[in-house]
């Protein structure tokens, strides 16, 4: 699939899309083919930024292109093409995500099913909040981070962590509390 370097379009490109769309309304299949080929990658790259799973972008792009096809008569040739397209992109993306998150299959999975996870579970590489948390954890001193991870992420008790780290139970609790406070400050 062709992939433009970014989703910013120049004014001349917008004019070109308007021209293609106007010709497509008159039945010009070549112009329509060009229009769809150009807006396809634009749509995908635009929505990719806001999705947790990049594979959804392909589905949404298809939905948008189908919608463009169905609603071509609602485009007004004297108006710019981009706002019309963006309204459809926004509508279809919201629609897709709403359906996706409301379907029951998203409520259950097993940790062994990697295909399922890839398709339905948020990919940490694309989720900004995970990156933020990881970056915030990096700011903690090593011992403090280890205590925090053992208690809050791995689920060990304060006593177990104290034995492992050679600290008192109260020191472990204080350390975890301070870490949590610091992370909150960083992430807010």
């Amino acid at each position: 699939m062709p992939s433009p370097s970014n989703t910013n379009i120049k004014p001349s490109q917008n004019d070109l899309w308007s021209e293609y769309a106007a010709k497509a309304q008159q039945g010009d299949k070549v112009a329509y083919n060009r229009l769809l080929r150009e807006i396809g990658p634009f749509i995908r790259n635009f929505i990719l930024k806001s999705l947790a799973n990049p594979e959804w972008a392909e589905d949404i792009m298809q939905d948008v292109l189908m919608s463009v096809h169905k609603a071509l008569n609602t485009y007004s040739p004297e108006r710019p093409f981009r706002p019309w397209l963006m309204a459809i992109i926004s509508f279809r993306r919201t629609d897709y995500l709403r359906k996706h998150y409301s379907s029951r299959e998203n409520m259950q999975t097993t940790l062994d099913d990697f295909d399922f996870q890839r398709a339905h579970v948020t990919n940490p590489d694309h989720a900004g909040e995970y990156k933020d948390i990881e970056a915030a954890l990096e700011t903690l001193p090593e011992n403090q981070r280890k205590v925090f991870e053992m208690i809050k992420i791995q689920g060990y008790s304060a006593k177990e962590v104290a034995n492992e780290m050679g600290m008192s139970v109260s020191a472990v609790k204080v350390s975890a509390h301070r870490s949590m406070k610091k992370l909150k400050e960083i992430l807010q």
Partner: protein, 212 residues
């Protein structure tokens, strides 16, 4: 999607292309519906019977303000409906603010009237105004739904609301010309409540109603 599948998909859509006539300007589209809807409500008012004190009412500021507000609301809701039938609303999103403002002012006006004149809330029962109001609104509503089907809205619930406000506004004004009960309570229960019920149903079915 692989490049080959993408190409096939695009080629399929392009092969499927038929010449289409661009939708007329929203103002042009709503105008015939609006004229027909006004004529329809006018005819119904005539058949149901114009209230006997209508000439006196034309010198009643409260009656005039109430109807002027409702006309403003229904006209702006009709315009908003028409623009909502295009995905980007032709850049006229500000239009949506007008009916909402009108509704807000109408509510404040009704509250002031209720405070000064009294609410006079009637018992909840099936009133002939309810039936007549629904009858007055159902044809304009059907017409505006038909108009929406020619377009493609990206905001189905808002569209449902605007369509209903347009039709309900027409029905409400029609009822003010037939019903002699001028109290806020009667207007709320017998004139507006049926539209709220229809609106609730339309809101729930909006996504299917305006699917494209």
């Amino acid at each position: 999607m692989s490049e080959e599948n993408f190409n096939k998909f695009i080629d399929g859509l392009a092969d499927d292309l038929e010449p289409v006539k661009p939708l007329a300007h929203p103002l042009q589209r709503i105008l015939p519906f609006f004229i027909f809807a006004v004529m329809y409500v006018g005819a119904l008012v005539y058949f149901v019977g114009v209230r006997h004190d209508i000439l006196n009412k034309f010198s009643d500021p409260s009656f005039l303000i109430e109807n002027a507000l409702m006309v403003f609301i229904l006209v702006t809701a009709g315009l908003s409906s028409s623009f909502l039938s295009v995905p980007d609303m032709r850049g006229q999103k500000w239009l949506i603010a007008l009916p909402f403002t009108g509704i807000g002012v109408f509510c404040v006006w009704s509250l002031i009237r209720a405070y000064t004149e009294g609410l006079h809330m009637p018992q909840l029962h099936l009133d002939h105004c309810m039936g007549e109001g629904v009858f007055m609104a159902v044809v304009p509503l059907t017409m505006v739904l038909f108009m929406m089907k020619k377009g493609a809205t990206t905001r189905p619930r808002l569209t449902a609301l605007m369509n209903l406000v347009f039709a309900a506004g027409l029905g409400y004004v029609g009822l003010r010309f037939t019903c002699m009960m001028d109290t806020v309570g009667h207007a709320t229960i017998s004139h507006l409540l049926p539209y709220l019920a229809i609106g609730t149903l339309m809101g729930m079915a909006a996504k299917k109603l305006y699917k494209w």
